[in-house]
Amino acid sequence: MTATEPQAETDERPIGFGRLLRKEDPRLIRGMGNFVDDIQLPGMLHLAILRSPMAHARIVSIDKSAAEAHPKVVAVITGEDLAAQGLAWMPTLSNDVQAVLATDKVRFQHQEVAFVVAEDRYSARDALELIIVDYEWIDPVIDVRKAMDADTPVIRDDLDDKTDNHIFDWETGDAAETEAIFASADVVVSEEIIYPRVHPAPMETCGCVADVERVSGQLTLWSTTQAPHAHRTVYALVAGLPEHKIRVIAPDIGGGFGNKVPIYPGYVCAIVASLVIGKPVKWMEDRTENLVSTGFARDYVMQGEIAATKEGKILAVRTNVLADHGAFNGVAAPVKYPAGFFGVFTGSYDLEAAYCKMQAVYTNKAPGGVAYACSFRITEAVYLVERIVDCLAYELDMDPAELRLKNFIQPDQFPYETKTGWVYDSGDYEPAMRKAMEMAGYDELRREQAEKREKGELMGIGLAFFTEAVGAGPRKDMDILGLGMADGCELRIHPTGKAVVRLSVKTQGQGHETTFAQIVAEEIGIPPEDIEVIHGDTDNTPFGLGTYGSRSTPVSGAAAALVTRKVRDKAQIIASGMLEVSVADLEWNKGSFSVKGDPEKSVTIQDIAMKAHGAGDLPDGIEGGLEAQICYNPENLTYPFGAYICVVDIDPGTAVVKVRRFIAVDDCGTQINPMIIEGQVHGGLADGVGMAMMEMISFDEDGNCLGGSLMDYLIPTALETPDWETGHTVTPSPHHPIGAKGIGESATVGSPPAVVNAIVDALKPYGIRHADMPLTPSRVWETMQGNHTPPI
C-alpha cells in the first residue's frame, strides 16, 4: 500500500465488493489533480474564439487585420481560412455536419466565427475585440412549433436541396393497435408535457491542449473528453491525420454528464492551430461559452396520452413529440436510435399497446440534445410516462402509489418485452416501491397532507417509478458513426502479484479507479490497493467507446470481470502444474487455488504470478506471463429501476417550494461499492431538483440565449437540496457477468417527475393537474393564479 492510499476508519477493506474509500481522493483533496487547464507546456499558446452575437445572420465580411497587428497575437483564423484546408465543417455524432467556423452564415447565437492564438490568455481575449465582422440579419427560427411553417427561413441552406427545417421523423410501437385501444377505453387522459432545454454545466468547462510534434507529426491532445478512443477515430476521419499518430489523453475531468461526449469546434481549432503554428495550443471555454454553445439536453415538446379502465388498469400510452435539435443535429446516440432510447416511454407498466411519433427539427439554437445524465433520452421518456400516470391518477381520483402498484410488470414476466420492443432483463418492482413507501411513512404523510389541506397549507407528495435502459450496447444494433459500442479491457498481473488493468472508459468523477480495482479484486483476490487502473489515454488502453449513458459498469465492468476470469483460468492451469494435480482437482478460494479435499496444498495468485514469469517449465501449451485482453460485446442492455418519493411544502403567500424530504430506493443489481453508488444517486437527485425547479436554457424571440451565466442558469446549492434518504433492493442482471446494471444516471432520470409530481400534488386544491418545469416561484405563483404558461 502506498503512503497516500486512503484508510477507512474501520479495518474493513474489502478484497472485492463493499464500501471502500476511493483511490482517486488522496490527490484530489490535496489539490494535486491534473485537469486540462492545469497543463502548462513550454512555449504553449492560448486560443480564444470569436462568437456570433446573432442567432441567424449572413456573414458579409470579416476584417482581422487589427487583431493580427496585436503584438502578442500569433494567428487569427476565420472560416474562410479553414475552408481553404477543407476543415471548415466537421461531422457530428449523428451523421450531420457542423461548422467548425462559420463561413456562409451563423446559425445560432454564440456560434464560432473566428479564433485568435496569442502568447497569453488575456491577449487572446483582447484581440477578439479587434476583429470586425459585418453581419446581415436573417429572421431566426426560435419557436420550435413554427420551425416547419411554410414561410420560415431555411436554417440549413448549406445542405443540398434543403427547403425546410426538417431533420427526421421517427416512430415506434403499433399505431393502429394503440388507436383501437384508445377508441374503446373507459378513460383517456391527454396532456402537453414539456421537457425544457437544460444544460449539464459541469463545474469544469470544456477545453484542450493540442500539441503537434512537427517532425513526426504526432498529435497529443489533452482533452475534456468522456470518450477518448471515439474522439481519436473521429479526428483521424475529420482531419485526415493517421490514427496511430494521434494520442488523446483525458486527464482528471471535472464532471461530464454527457457535456463532454461531443467533439466541439474548439478542439478542432486548437488542433489546427498547433498543426499550423508548430507549438502547443490551449483552448479553455469560459462559463458563458460552455452554457451557450456546448451540448444542451432535452428540449422535447410531448403530447402525452394514456388510456385505462375506470378501475385503473393502464392499457396504452401514446405520444407525439416535437424535438428541437438546434442548428446542427449533434445528438450523440447510437445511429439506429435517432431519438435515443426514448422508446422505453412505456415505463414500468404492463401495457397492451404503445405508440410514439416524433418529428425532429432545426432551430437557431446551439446543437446537442443528448446530455445531462439522460441515458440517451430516457429522462424524457420517464418524465412523460410518470407525469401522465399522475394525470391519470388525478382523473381517477386514485392514489398514485396504488395506481402504479396495480400496473407494474410482475417478476415472473421477466425477461419482459415491451410494446416498443425493448427486452427488460430483470426486475422486481413492488418491493422497491413498498420499501420507498415504508421509508417515507407514506400513509402518515397522506394523513398529514389531509390535515394541512384543511388548514389551507400546501404540502405535496410526489412519486416516480422508473425503469432505465443502460449499457449501450449490443454491436449488432448499436454503433456511433459506425463504431460498435463494445469495450476492451486488458489485465496484467506483474511477477510480484500486483496488477494493472487498462480500461477504454473514463471517469469524470464516478470513481472508476476504485470500482474497477474492486471488480478485478473480486474475481482474482488481489487487494484493490495492489491494482492500478489505467484509463483515459488512447496510447495506453484498449479501444472502446467511453463513459456515458451509464455504460461503464454494464459494458466495461463486464469486460473487467471477464478479462480477470480469463487470467484466472490461465492461473489455474499454472497452479495445476505447481501442485501437480489436474485442473479439475483445484478449487478457487478468492486469491488462491487449493487441491480439493486437501486445503493445505495451495498456491496464492501471487505465487502463480511469479511462477508465470519465473524460471522452470510451465504446463504444456502455456506461454509465460499472466495477462489477457478482451473486447466485451454486451448481449443486451441492463435495466436498473427505482422508486422515488418527494415531499414538498409550498408557501401559499410567496409560492416558494421547499423540498422537505426525498426518498430514493434504487436497484442497480449487484453493488460494487455502496458508498459510490449512494454518491451517484445523490448527485442525480440534486440534478432533478434543479431541472424541476430552477434550470432552463431559454431564448428571446431574436434568439438571444438567456441562460448564459450561472447568474441566469440556476443550479441548486446546499440550501435548495434536502438530506437525501436512500435505500436499495438488489435484482441482479441475468446476462451481466457480475449481475451489475449501472447507476450513474438513474437518479437524474427518476427525480424530475417525483419533484414535479409533488409540486402538482401540493397544488391539487387549486384544481391543477399539470404544470411544466422549471417550477420556479414565479411559475408556481402563476399556476396558482390559473395563468400557467408553457415554458416554450
Binding site: 476511493r22 459541469p202 463545474m203 471535472g254 469560459d286 458563458t288 448527485g683 440534486a686
Partner: protein, 165 residues
C-alpha cells in the same frame, strides 16, 4: 506592477499586470493549480481561497487586491504530512466525486470550523451555499464537514501559519 503577499506561509513577490485576476495569478504564475476556475461571476466557488482566513472568490478578486495579505490555498491545508481534518473528512464521507469544486469547498469548511467548531447542519449548508457541486448533491459534503468537526485536534490547523486560531 509588483505585488507582494504571503501564500501558504511563503512570501511571494511577483510582477503582474494590474488587471490580473487572483485566480490566474495563483494558478498560472505561482503554479498552484489546486485552486480552480469555474464561472467568472462569483457563483460557483471553485476558485475560493482564504484571504486572512476569510473565504474569497479569487475569480473576481484582482491579484493586486491581495497584496499585503495572507492567502491560503488547498495546497497549504496539509501541514507536515498531516492532512487537515476537513481533507480527511472529505475522503471518509465521500464528499467528492470529480474533485473540481473540492478545494473551494474544503477551504470554506476550514474557515467555518475556525469560527464555529460545532456547526449545525443548517449552518454548514448556509456556509457552502455560495458554492456549487454538480456531483455529490451536498449531503456527503455536509457529512464530511461534520466528520471534520468531530475530529478536530486541539490545535486548529489550516490557518496560513499553522498556529492556533
Amino acid at each position: 506592477m509588483q505585488v507582494d503577499m504571503t501564500v501558504n506561509g511563503q512570501e511571494v513577490s511577483e510582477e503582474i499586470e494590474p488587471r490580473h485576476l487572483l485566480v490566474h495569478f495563483i494558478r498560472d504564475q505561482l503554479g498552484l493549480t489546486g485552486t480552480h476556475w469555474g464561472c467568472d461571476t462569483s457563483n460557483c466557488g471553485t476558485c475560493v481561497v482564504l484571504i486572512d482566513g476569510e473565504p474569497v472568490k479569487s475569480c473576481t478578486t484582482l491579484a493586486a487586491m491581495a497584496g499585503g495579505h495572507d492567502v491560503q490555498t488547498v495546497e497549504g491545508m496539509e501541514v507536515d504530512g498531516e492532512l487537515d481534518p476537513v481533507q480527511e473528512g472529505f475522503m471518509q464521507c465521500h464528499g467528492l466525486q470529480c474533485g473540481f469544486c473540492t478545494p473551494g469547498m474544503m477551504l470554506t469548511a476550514r474557515a467555518l470550523l475556525n469560527n464555529d467548531p460545532n456547526p449545525t447542519e443548517e449552518v454548514i449548508r448556509e456556509a457552502i451555499s455560495g458554492q456549487i457541486c454538480r456531483c455529490t448533491g451536498y449531503s456527503t459534503i455536509v457529512r464530511s464537514i461534520q466528520w471534520a468537526a468531530a475530529h478536530e485536534s486541539a490545535v486548529t490547523v489550516g490557518t496560513s501559519n499553522g498556529s492556533a486560531s
